[in-house]
Point group: D2
Chain length 431, copies 4
């Protein structure tokens, strides 16, 4: 059976299959972690793993079962508040900064919560024949869980690294290809004109990806690949972190206050004789910085400062999307279970590494597209209310599930944040 | 004699005359204020009046005399750091938050500093025949001083209001026209297409106003006039400050933390029986809120929340500029010495109040135009390094000098700031 | 075999027996708690249960085995820093505020750490024949662990209460005796003169309990029992929390900032008609406030304000000790596994409830006794360096192990802290 | 005419004369300062000079004229709140942290306020024949103003030093005697026994100086003079600021957070070759540190750390007072207008420098004496409510007026404060 709703068409079997797969994957990602690992919260922006496991379940509980399934009795009335992230329309939510203070429900009880909700969801999905409006909510719930799979990895990486001795998430497999010296990046040009960007058409997309609309772009060029660790090291060696001329004023303040000397997760294990020897913490342990890999875990401020130093700039998100429209969505994603970027590059004159490996900071503040309408109801809070003091990132990373990424996907973070797997590529305006 | 430099043409007489006029005006604005009034700093964002008087002088001292006049010996070597606002290229600057801790030089000594620099400037302007490159710096210095004239009024208003009893800057003249009930605003439409915006051509403009470039705009409508106090009161009465659904997430946090219940400078002097009676603090004292005046001294967050509540949005800065290009730059500016907005409105179907009265928040984060190049040298720090987490305002206010405003002028502030004279007008995308 | 060291005499069998008992008790206290419960840290002052379990083990590892047992190889070199609370002489210590960020070692690994150290300790205790200096360290380690048994309960109470729904540590047994209306307290008088206070003689005591020394006390009276919840409620009803005249200036600031309206763990479940109905959170769940119980979990500031309101004051610690010297050390301690104060009182004219139930705030800042010498070596950091901005509490509580309390025991906390089980009794100077 | 009240006896002429003298002196101290100097507030703990001038006047306005003189009409009703320091019984008070935000009344208006109140006071003092209760308030007002004369100098010193270039209060007179190498300090012993301390008898004293009462002191020794800069330098050179073993735990935290390397107002102008050359900022400008002067402007934490390093301790306040009772109250006070300590010392075996030059930190937290009763009414807030987290200082300084100091005077500050003119002397318990 298939259902059609506001232009989206689902087959019951597909949705059921996808539901099972997504839910299973989340649990697999949490599996290597002890109850203690699942409880800690290393900073206000990060959430405990247990919270991710429960919140993604809460999403189906709240927006599907509670709203559409009359037979649903719920699991625990306190969960409504406990696992509400920020939806004012649902009522109060337990403060984000104190998620790490919750020891209940335990990991096992969270597992049980997932089991009960999954059972109810599968049953409901199997028999529901009524209005298909809620099928949309199921799909959003799956996309939502996909985002949290990435956050789970992002947060646990920060949580493990923050500890004495920086324990690992999983065994280190020797995998980094020897650095190939790295072909120099080249510029790929695009001509001025009216372009269409944003999501339109039949597939799923978040509300803020649309509507599809026209933009005018002046002539521009985009680098063939993201900036690598080797290139970024040159910026560091050239004193980039000590020279305010490259930095936005706010960026310089943050850099001073935080004492940044390199990307997050980098550590100088240099000798006393002065040579820096940079190691990088990965989910599988410390390893030497590989100059051919795209630099990752940098803030917008660092990306922007590097670009200025390199006499270039970051692409706007429209430019990025126009450039990316010329390529297939393929690359290195979370399915490979590597969870660290791989060296990128390839034939000159073409674009490489747009998708996967690292999210790419764009120079565009996160704003609504012309004609943007948030989803109706409480889910309208999903994106729209965060359109302030954030920058757009594009293209997904090695922590992103391939199936959750579209060429129009808009990710967004504050310019000072660094714990998401973000790098960048350069652009410039031709003169 | 006239001088031509990079496309700008100045006559020596004009520049001399303008220099004298601008410098005199600044002193007139400070004249009603005692040495004590000129010393206080009411918050980190505001600066003491004495500092404005000295810093504008420092600008000519540093960027004109010290760089171009070999005979210039300077006044006090400590001034270089003391009155440097933020130019890293000039060396260290005394911390902004501690400007109010400086009791030296005294008001009288600052006056003397101005006198000596003015004398040197007039002499140099009168005799200089060499390279005209520095004439550009003189003009920038004058535009810079124009901006500080507005800041001086903005800051002293906050400084006086912050005190017990809220003393006044000058005598209250009974002036507000009786509220006329206020014609309802109407929508003025513009068609989709490619438009040109930004500064081009011969006159002065700040670096970030250019280059002139093309943008594509979808069909849009702009309100015929800014939102009035009367309309804003309806938002307040409807519980707008208590309902998170209208607010950006960050805006709601600020509103909660600060306990906002209305615009800055508004105070409810209502009776115990519950009727609110809003008074507003002006530089000339407290007066009843006039429903026909444009609402002023609101943050971007409040403007944005109001717009959402009114089923509209703020115009982008490109939309604003396209709309404003249809009107003359005329309105109520600082030259009238009223320093408070006047009721606006007029014939339906036309645009009113675009210039003067209140700056208008746009929905556009402050970013570089395509092809933007900061001024060369230290003055490149003037604008570019602030392009982060700020929103653009357009159109000038009753605290802005008329001569310092262009249709392309871009003002910018953080979205939570309220002490600048800012209101807003609505826009919408036609569907 | 017995060992004599600096006046202390131990029998090997006694020490071995005591070691086994104390270590077992700690584990029993942690047993009801899941790994998640053992991981959370609800505020900077509190520590995770896992940390208490490991730190008390670290104490023996560091100060006994590592220093005295040459065959000891240690368990994990990172533990030295990881579980160091504050001993600068031992090297760096992991920051207290971030103890809740450590997910490693897990609860199970901590259990194993305890097992290995216990085995080594028992073996060493059984065979050691050399210098007896380290027997002192063993005894300190046991007293230290006794203190942490109390802290474990104190901290987990705060950690559970801080959560949504305030889960319990154990089953609620219906146990509070019906409130008996409570005999009024009476005054018990002592005459002026020179008294001896502080520890002297053969038994164990912490360094700061001595030396025994003379003090002169003017005539004073001490209340026959601690202030009860019923009496404290009168203070609350009389507006005690809203009247600054009763409060120390710093106390008033804290009360304002924190919004205190009653003791920590009290919650008003009153009806809309206005009558307050106070419930109190205990380790076994919420129950109605029992007017006959001593009030507990109040700060020094509240105790002091109450005393002023009651036209009295708190006793000095010398007065308290002189009064307490007239009674046996008996009362309601942690051995009863009730973990909540019981109603106190008894025959008029006598002193009741000095020991057990609630620690009693004294009016004495925590300072060194005349002639105080800290323990030699690193253990000198145990108490001396905290003699600043703290107040002394006396008498132990229902969370204190009976065996760890002496009439000379000095507990100390900052005046604003409330999460320890502290009440108070009144005193006055006769005129 | 003379008046007798609660044991105090005043002659009208004496009081009138003293009133005139004290009021004049305050104005003389402010005279060298511009209106700008009188407006700044360099930190929350310090107050603007204008505020001191007005607040001391407010004291007579509020506690004498408004309460006792029916003909008094007041000057400005807003002054009641504006210049209230902290008396809750008088109503609200303008926040201390924002005193520097008040530009009104101006210096001239404050002068006028003083003039009007002085006139009314002199008139009232000249004619009053009724109840003498208010004569006590006049005397308290004068002692109060004496304290503020010292605070005025203390605060303006901090305010001037905090500025770029550290301007001076007055001309530097070359005055420091050449350092005499400094006789070593010797110990002066006192025998154990019951002593009487605290104020008793006919003269004025603050409430907290009494009642006179008995204390028992064990044998103790006190150093013959305060610790000198030369001795303190040895502590610094020995790494005293880098070794936590000497510091209280809270002291070490402050030292780390603030980056202390020496006393406040000291600055190392050493050469690159490494030798430190310490200069000290005085109200008359920078000068070389004189090794023979008592060290000044150190916190309790530094005094306590030094004492530990020197294998000694600070005297208790009772010990200090017992020792001081053997000497006349004479020394170097503010009347000499030097405002900086002079070298101290003298014949061995005797006590020197107890009074004047520097306040001496004692090891005693500030608590009530046995039987302490605060003054009745609002003035009861003068001292009592500050008895928390402060330490007692004794003996006055070169900024204290001689007439305002008694052997029983108790000054008190938080242990981390350094901007008052405080040094210390050593003590020890004989064993």
């Amino acid at each position: 059976m298939s259902v059609n709703f506001e232009g989206r068409l689902w087959s019951r079997e597909d949705l059921l299959g996808r539901f099972r797969k997504v839910r299973r994957r989340t649990e697999e990602l949490a599996a290597p972690l002890s109850p203690e690992d699942q409880t800690i919260q290393s900073m206000e922006s990060a959430s405990p793993v247990r919270w991710h496991l429960a919140h993604t379940t809460w999403f189906f509980d709240t927006f599907v079962l509670s709203m559409h399934d009359e037979s649903w009795e719920g699991v625990d009335p306190s969960f409504r508040e406990r696992f509400n992230s920020y939806y004012q329309g649902v009522g109060p939510s337990w403060p984000r900064a104190r998620r790490g203070g919750l020891s209940r429900p335990t990991s096992e009880e969270v597992r049980e919560y997932r089991r009960v909700v999954d059972e109810a969801m599968v049953s409901f999905l199997s028999r529901s024949t009524g209005s298909a409006r809620w099928w949309a909510a199921v799909e959003i719930g799956l996309e939502h869980e996909g985002q949290h799979q990435e956050l789970l990895l992002t947060d646990i990486k920060h949580g493990l690294w923050s500890q004495l001795g920086s324990p690992v998430y999983g065994e280190l497999r020797r995998r980094s290809r020897p650095a190939k010296g790295g072909r120099r990046a080249s510029w790929v040009g695009f001509q001025s004109g009216i372009y269409e960007v944003g999501h339109g058409g039949p597939g799923f997309a978040f509300d803020h990806e649309g509507p599809r609309h026209r933009v005018f772009l002046e002539d521009f060029e985009v680098a063939s690949r993201p900036v690598t660790c080797g290139e970024y090291l040159e910026f560091m060696i050239d004193g980039g972190y000590d020279d305010p001329q490259w930095w936005l004023s706010q960026g310089w303040e943050v850099r001073q206050a935080e004492g940044w000397r390199g990307p997050l997760y980098w550590e100088d294990r240099g000798t006393d004789h002065g040579d820096a020897q940079w190691q990088v913490y990965t989910l599988r342990g410390w390893q030497e910085v590989n100059r051919a890999e795209p630099v990752a875990f940098v803030s917008f401020f660092e990306a922007d400062a590097y670009a200025r130093w390199a006499m270039a700039r970051l692409p706007t998100e429209a430019e990025w999307e126009v450039a990316a429209a010329t390529r297939e969505v393929e690359g290195h994603f979370a399915e490979e279970d590597l969870f660290h970027p791989r060296p990128v590059g390839g034939a000159p004159g073409a674009l490489h590494g747009l998708f996967g490996d690292v999210w790419e900071w764009t120079g565009s503040p996160y704003v609504a597209y012309p004609g943007f309408r948030p989803w109706t109801g409480v889910l309208g809070e999903y994106n729209g209310k965060f359109m302030c003091n954030q920058y757009v990132l594009r293209g997904g990373s090695c922590l992103t599930g391939r199936e959750f990424l579209r060429p129009t996907t808009r990710n967004y973070f504050s310019p000072e944040t660094r714990w998401q797997c973000a790098g960048f590529r350069l652009a410039r305006t031709m003169s």
